[in-house]
Amino acid sequence: MIGSHRRYAVALGLVVLLVALARMLVPEAIGLSDQGDAHRLTCQLGLEVDVAWRDRITPEVSSTAYVPFQWERHTWYGETCGANGTGQPYRSSQITLLRAAQLVTPVLGFDAALDLRALAVVCSVLLAGLASLLYLALPGRPALRMVTVGLVVLALLDRRVAGVFASGYSEPAALLGLLAVVVASLFVLRRRVATLPGLVALAGTGAFTLTSKSQMVGVLPLIVLALVWRPSRAPDQPSWPIRWQRTWFLGWARARAAGLVLSLVLVVLTASYLGSQPPRFEEVNRHNQLFHTLLALDDQPEEDLAWFGLDPALAPLSGTNITGNAELVGSPAYEPVADIDQGDILRFYAAHPGRLALLARRGLDAAAASDPSAYLASYGRDSGEPPHTFENRIWLWSALFEIADAVPAVLLVVVFGSLFVTVQVVRRTDDPEVEGPALVAAGVALSAVLSFWVAVLGDGTVELARHLIIADVLVAWCVPFAIAARFGARRPRPELALPPDVATKVRVDPAASAPPADDPVTVAPVTVGAAARYNAGDAAEPVPGAASFDELFERFVANDPDGPEPGRGWKVRRWRRTPPDPAGDLEAAVADPPPRPSPPVAADAPRPPRPPLPSRTPRRLAADVAPSSAAAEPVAPEHDPSEEPSATDGDADHDWLQLSPDDFLAALRTRSTPSPHPTDDPGGPHP
């Protein structure tokens, strides 16, 4: 199965690569024409657009009417390379993608210093690689994973979005970076204990995304949350000072030291990046937010200007952009506008909630716009297409936005519906295999909301539909990731993993009992007393800090179930909820944690239905440990969690916990099969 997953991932990546390349380059290349923003990135590479001087200022043949694919070398001096006519440098990780495209341009045979078709190839390769990784990181059966990956990729290749992958804008870095963040988050959050390489990957992809454009600052809180959500080391390391183990916060922080350090690096990097943004952007955004948006949302510009302490003579600027009335914008009356900051804008909206609601409505309409870049173009001048022609090759998600164009509330239903579904999944499970994807899906939905508000409050209503492209992609992603989180939980259970010391006692090769190496499964209950970062890669070797079984057992019994360590508390709760009959349901106690306890139910009350997640599937314990005796064992009765003792049933817990190690092992050896639990595994017990 593992090998087939890898093969599927490679095959899927190849399919995505071919589809993306065909979509971008055949029969003729498509991209997104330039409304002037490309220069601030390409000039940093010493490039100028290869369009004749006069054509650039002729609307019918300008770089806005046709995609300027070819760029030639040029040396820029002074203030000619910067943001919006200034020399203020505009930084973006998109430069990295453009440099890569510049490198492969001659390799691909294009006759230019940079051909944006080479950027399309670079982006297609990256997209294919990320699609493969996403397949491996997702839960569920291959078909579900492929559908999920397909929907995610199609959102990026949709006609609303795909053109940016052959353009000079910074969106490709933001979109591919977001996808990389999602993949890295899945790898981190699907383990009970985050690995350091996983955290570094998440922080690295986060850094790439956050430095792509300032609008991406909205996802910083979510990336930080993902970095510190899981502990990165076992909380009960013997080397820790006792006082640290007894102080909840220090224990929490210590267990997440790597995530916290990386979060700090990301926060500092993001703050530094935002601080390096061109001051001209601040001027433009302030004007757009104040005059083009806020004043235009109502018809009382003089009063609004007075609220900000500005000269009412500026009222004619209502609804204009900063270049719309240079006479007034350049006048002394405008100079105090420089003192208005984002806080003032937010205070105004707080004092005028109706205006904020109106802004949200305008934003929603813009997000639902069926053609956010309609004034641009998809084709090069050699294509023979009329100017400003937009392509229509892939429109799956555009169909959703066509509906949303008529009923914008559809977008709210998609985002908050997926958020509701994923939160329900998170609430019903502690299994990181199930919880992780749900957390990521919830993060995608929240990212959509945050990106929306950052765009709306940052850029105002100027070109808002185009600025909301990233939020639109995140809205589209909500659907496949919610599906993956909801239905990916119904996966075949992996083989039972035993702690090395237990496996040794029962004479089972620890490596053989380990979960597959490329399936990031962490079977938490077997980490009893041992380091919690027990997974496929670690299974064949002793976990640092692991003690002998007797030591573990004693430590386990001695631990306070509600102790300060979250990880330990979770583990203890699992064991405490286990029925007292070890022979009856030992398997579930070891590797199949029951759902969280139901609220107290009266004796005569109807029994609440069992939560559907996570699904219960048979364990392979008996087959692995004692195949000959397993077949002769009678089928155990259905395990009903409602009959389990609650977390407060201390006596029953202690009966179970006071089993001797030998009794424990004996119970393991005599475990029956098949499992009494219902299964989703069509193949039954594994060979």
């Binding site: 220069h39 000039c43 940093q44 820029w76 001096y77 203030e79 000619t80 200034t86 350049g330 070797e541």
Partner: protein, 275 residues
Amino acid sequence: MSGDRRAGRGRTVGLVVLGIVLAVLAVAPGLVGGDPEPGVGMEDQGVGTCHDYPTVEEYYSPSDTRPPVPCTEPHLAETIAVRELPADVASRDQRPSLEAMQRLGPSLDCSYADVVAYLGSDDENPHWFVTTQVRFPTEQEWADGERRFRCDAFTAVTTGIDRPIRRGSLRDVMERPESAAVRPCLAGPEIVPCSRPHDSEVVGGEAPPAGPERTRFAERVCPEAVAAFLGDEGEDLVAAVHDTAGGRAFCVATIRSGDPLLEGTHAVQAGGASS
């Protein structure tokens, strides 16, 4: 077992290092970027220097530090004056905003009169197709104390699909045949540079509106102006008042009916008759 443990740790460390290196490689180029060349400052771009702007971005930039080119090579602009900014502007610590500079430009001392003086044109030998543009110090220059602005003259006629380039200096150009590029001629009702095929060459000022003044202008003023303009070389041309496409009328030295079109200038000031 210890070897396996070491291998596992080595693998982890390797992955971490690889991740960090990849992250730095992915992020650093974007943060570092590529900065433009500093170029040549205001102090080295005095009167008579010529400037080429191969791109639209350079043409519309408020400042210009691109190294000057020899005036014999293709260029767009030529500096005709370098002057101090007004005191109220120069006293600011920070350079005015783009919009403030845009508003300030037309009010600065960089006008038609400067062009007239630099080109050597007058009422009888008017110049066309030349306008002025102001270049401010860069923000860095401003921070270093530079408070002068550059007054540039540039040719405002595009040629083909390329930028409106010209060759040669504009200083006293009216006294040379190359002035044909900045002298107004008529090709039918359209005003074109005299360097292009034309049937008439504009002489003197604009004709007054229709009426007695117009009649007097056509019968006396214009023929005298044309005679002075052509000198002894202009016997093939005749004086006339022509209406242009813009609804204006000018005194011109025009060809006789059936004669071939002209190129260049016949102004005696510029050295005599052209073809």
